[in-house]
């Protein structure tokens, strides 16, 4: 081996490209580790887990179909519809997507939640003041996507624009009101003492399903 070849091999060793035996180092990361690392990064980035816990709590609270908040003095109800995506950071499955009219409240989704996944994105139907808004929302930014607003009533172009803006803002306000009703509970003692055990009972399909806690 020439001096030049020896120097090249030594440099490759120092860069970690080859081992002491001169063979290529096998440092390709394990696929499962990469996936788990990515899931964890998504979970922690900007505290996305708070948004996921919010949507999971909302799913549990909304099943009864009762009004969850009041906006402008009028009750608002929420229904999860069509598509729901769950994500987790531990275990064998890091993402589950369920589709179907009643999929969000299905036993399959509840079991997945019980195993440690949380709702990451979902399609919601918000009903308020005899108006219905349908929108998709994700846990990380709580952006509103592909929203269907109530039918416009105005006929003039300018009035229609103003009405559309008002409806979009109302959809956003409804989402904020739900979040604002969740956060004080989430930060308080009742979260771990009452809400979480009741949610877990609901996920497991246990008798009673913590209805009392949900009503509170």
């Amino acid at each position: 081996m020439s001096r030049r070849e020896r120097a090249a091999q030594e440099a490759a060793f120092l860069r970690g490209e080859v081992g002491v035996d001169g063979r290529p180092a096998d440092d390709a990361p394990d696929k499962a580790d990469v996936e788990a690392g990515k899931a964890r990064e998504q979970f922690l980035r900007g505290k996305t887990f708070v948004g996921r816990e919010f949507l999971t709590w909302l799913l549990w609270r909304s099943e009864a179909g009762e009004p969850l908040v009041e906006v402008d003095g009028k009750p608002a109800t929420v229904l999860f519809v069509d598509r729901i995506a769950l994500r987790g950071i531990a275990g064998e499955t890091t993402e589950v997507v369920a589709k179907g009219v009643a999929a969000p409240y299905s036993a399959l989704v509840r079991r997945a939640l019980d195993s440690g996944l949380l709702v990451h994105s979902a399609r919601l139907r918000l009903t308020h003041d005899e108006k219905s808004y349908e929108l998709s929302v994700d846990a990380e930014f709580l952006d509103i996507k592909s929203a269907r607003l109530p039918e416009l009533l105005s006929e003039e172009e300018d009035d229609r624009l103003t009405e559309r803006l008002a409806l979009a803002e109302q959809a956003s306000a409804l989402l904020d009101a739900l979040l604002r009703s969740f956060l004080p509970l989430r930060a308080g003692k009742r979260w771990s003492k009452e809400a979480v055990p009741a949610m877990k009972a609901w996920m497991r399909g246990e008798a009673g399903e913590g209805r009392q806690a949900r009503a509170g």
Binding site: L161, L165, L179
Partner: protein, 208 residues
């Protein structure tokens, strides 16, 4: 134009507007970062800036075209010139063959690079830029600013431009930001082990 019609996708922010008469600072700020069309002679292949909501070539921002009740409505236009890489390669290969036939030798690296530049310029002159427009609504009474697009990348680019042009801080309306507005301390927001994590050691891992 999503503000005017179609399905709605919104990235939501809270921005405290400057405590001055909006008619003076808003149009001025938008004009600072007004859209400028790409020049055929320039080397730039992307241009982005503010345009009027109803006329994507206009950057006057007169009060009548900017203010709708308590809202300021405008758009963000991005023009991009893309020269097809495969077409460029094919044209260059054709030229190299012709060069070799005429000169009896293949072109040198420098000659090839020069020719590539000429072909690229020729293609640029022929290509029409692709234009994309995203609407923005800013409720000057509540401070809510909405970017009417599903793409987070667009929302972030527009958010940055708004912050620079108007000297405001935009707060994305995420769960954590709303918690901050409600004076909920950061320490109260750690993952709930029973909901999202299997074991206590995993909680410790995440917290670390």
């Amino acid at each position: 134009m999503p503000i005017l019609r179609g399905a709605v996708s919104l990235s939501r922010f809270l921005a405290e507007p400057p405590a001055r008469e909006p008619k003076t600072w808003l149009a001025k700020g938008l004009r600072v970062r007004a859209f400028e069309p790409l020049e055929a002679s320039s080397e730039e292949d992307r241009s982005a800036g503010f345009v009027e909501l109803e006329d994507h070539d206009a950057t006057e921002f007169s009060a009548g075209n900017l203010f709708y009740a308590e809202h300021a409505l405008f758009s963000w236009r991005v023009d991009q010139l893309k020269v097809s890489a495969s077409a460029l390669r094919a044209e260059l290969a054709k030229w190299a063959q012709a060069f070799e036939r005429d000169q009896g030798r293949p072109p040198s690296r420098v000659e090839k690079a020069d020719r590539r530049g000429i072909i690229q310029q020729m293609f640029r002159a022929r290509t029409t830029p692709r234009s994309k427009v995203v609407d923005v609504s800013w409720n000057l009474k509540t401070g809510h600013l909405e970017v009417w697009a599903g793409s987070r990348k667009s929302a972030e680019e527009i958010g940055e431009a708004v912050e620079k042009c108007f000297g405001v801080k935009l707060l994305p309306l995420t769960a954590v930001a709303v918690a901050g507005a409600l004076d909920i301390p950061d320490t109260a927001l750690v993952p709930t082990p029973e909901l999202s994590l299997g074991t206590q050691s995993e909680v410790r891992d995440v917290e670390a």
